[in-house]
Amino acid sequence: MTIADLLSSGFSIASNTLGNITGYLLIPPPFFVFSFLSPVVVILLFAMPFGGICTYLERKISADFQERVGPNRVGPIGLLQFFADGIKMFLKEDLANKNADLLVYNIAPALVTAGSMGAFAAVPFAKHVMGANLDIGVFFVMAIGSLVSLGILLGAWSSENKWSLLGGVRAAAQIVSYEIPLGIAVLTVVMVAGTMNIGDIVQMQLWPTGEGGHFWFIFHNPFVFINFFVFFIAALAECNRTPFDLAEAESELVSGFNTEFSGMRFGLYALAEFIDVIMFCCVAVAIFLGGWNLPFVDISDIQTGWKILGGNADILIQALFMIIVFMAKVCALIFVVMWIRWTLPRLRVDQLMSLCWKYLIPIGLFNLLGAAIWMMAFHGRGLIEVIGLAGGHH
């Protein structure tokens, strides 16, 4: 095999919709219907409400950190506050600057939301619960996530407001810069796993009985471990979260790129930020933290023999357990993101860019090289296998 063959076979990996549908049909009825509808279920019934709940959690957690009570009026312990906020935003007047470019101004929030929510299509919540089982899943998430920077820049430019434009330019510079360390960190996992299919990456982390017998990839070797933190820091910056929220720095830019937006258009920007955080946490859990897998436990082995509508209910029960495990890990990461927001001060713009170009990129590349050398030295085995705790079959 030559390098040319290698490249051509590498590039031939593409999403195969027909293959996916065939895959769904192999699942016994009525579960293929559930699986086939999962993209819609995931996006409409998960991303939107969970994004809303995160706005409530953020306010409650920040209140706790600052020894306040937080929202406590709407619903029990203020649980319906996000719902009330949503209704308020729907009812508010949709304003635009007199000189705004209305076409672009109206499209921009939708682009940001599409970028955040579209990426969920390739995120596996459980073995059969994923929007699309893409062979280029990791690549797809990074590519469609880039729509966010486009939406922010377009919205900022079309607002006809200097604060918005400054915020938008900052956001674009930040997101484009931090995509590099983010990509390098993801590349390390792709190299270790040998696949870009996020579902397959999760399956490989089933320890000790899974194929290859790998433990969670964060513990595969010390280089991947450090690159997880590179990924996490870069993801924070990609989401414009504190300490990287310069794009909407209130003390300098009023509210940055979304200054002129009101009503539900502003709501979409706010929601997209949270959905982006959830999406990056989902990806981090899937590729670094074992996804739905727990050590020593194979959830696929759960057998109850129960029936639903004439079909075996075990797949559904297993999927529920997997979703619970996956979401528990995602929630833990989201808590860390919120914790960081209410603990660290905002960086200066030069510090932000220095952190990316002078530290994260060289560290990420060094770890990529280190991980490659580790793979060569130990024939692809992880740290746990090297020290003799390997399970599974090779």
């Binding site: 290698l6 490249l7 792709v190 220095s354 590349l365 060569m376």
Partner: protein, 71 residues
Amino acid sequence: MFPVLRLFRGAIETNMAMAWQIFTVSFVFIGILLLGLIYELKKGDIDWIKDGFERADAFKETEHYKSRNIG
């Protein structure tokens, strides 16, 4: 990089010579990028805020400064 490094693991398990080839090609590519980054770092083009004195001197050369006769 993604398609090439995706095949790295499989090459390690089946064909070590190919694995070495991928390793070399990938890291020559990254090495060239790193050289560029180091060059830019040395040149100071990645510094978003230049030295304060340099900025002040540059400002004094502008038409705006000269026309308003500041200082």
